[in-house]
């Protein structure tokens, strides 16, 4: 690995690439802090919004 590697190169790959196990999304906010969003939770919320008669 050469010396010209920038943080963006590392983040593109380790956080934006690679094999994903679950449908979880991790977003970086201000360098270090993370907002961890579970896709399952998001999908459940969307389902609740679009199918108002179903129980979440």
């Amino acid at each position: 690995m050469n010396d010209d590697v920038a943080l963006v190169d590392l983040l593109d790959r380790l956080l934006g690439g690679g094999v994903v196990i679950h449908g979880d999304i991790t977003l970086a906010v201000a360098d270090i802090d993370l907002v961890h969003i579970s896709l399952r939770a998001v999908l459940a919320s969307v389902e609740a919004l679009t199918c108002p008669t179903s129980t979440p």
Partner: protein, 177 residues
Amino acid sequence: MPYVYAVTEPGTPAPPGLRVVEAAGLAAVVGDHDAPAPSVDALWQHERVVEGLMERGPVLPMRFGSTTHDVGVLLEERHAELTAALERVRGAVELGVRATPDPEPAASGTEYLMRRARTERAHAALAEFARASVARPHAGAYLVDRDTVDAFRARVRELDERLTCTGPWPPYSFVAA
């Protein structure tokens, strides 16, 4: 929960402090620890483990932070996809290309766009040298045969002296079909 670093071929020796789980004709390199917070140091620690596996054979790097209750089930459930992905990357490495940062930040929108345009203009020419390529807004990623790496780097320099080529990386950008 076990932390998964990479998927490889059976027979991969376990790196120091880690273990290998084999199932469904595949192997996973695993650490018995939780996913660390994604500090730069933790990211590089993950990267060093995966890079250490690259010399022995094809490697599918996991995204940073990947944990699962049952590694064997992961390999079994996704063995077709993972086996095909290993074959796609066998004998190749990932190289990245982007505009070399200027010492001064872009002073105008035009300048910003011109820097991005340098990366985009080179992309088609470089993609010809690669098995596969990905164009991100700010950088290109290329899956390149190991014995083509030097020629690829030379082509980058010929195309534009203000491009930076990074790598070889494990093929993070090429694990999906």
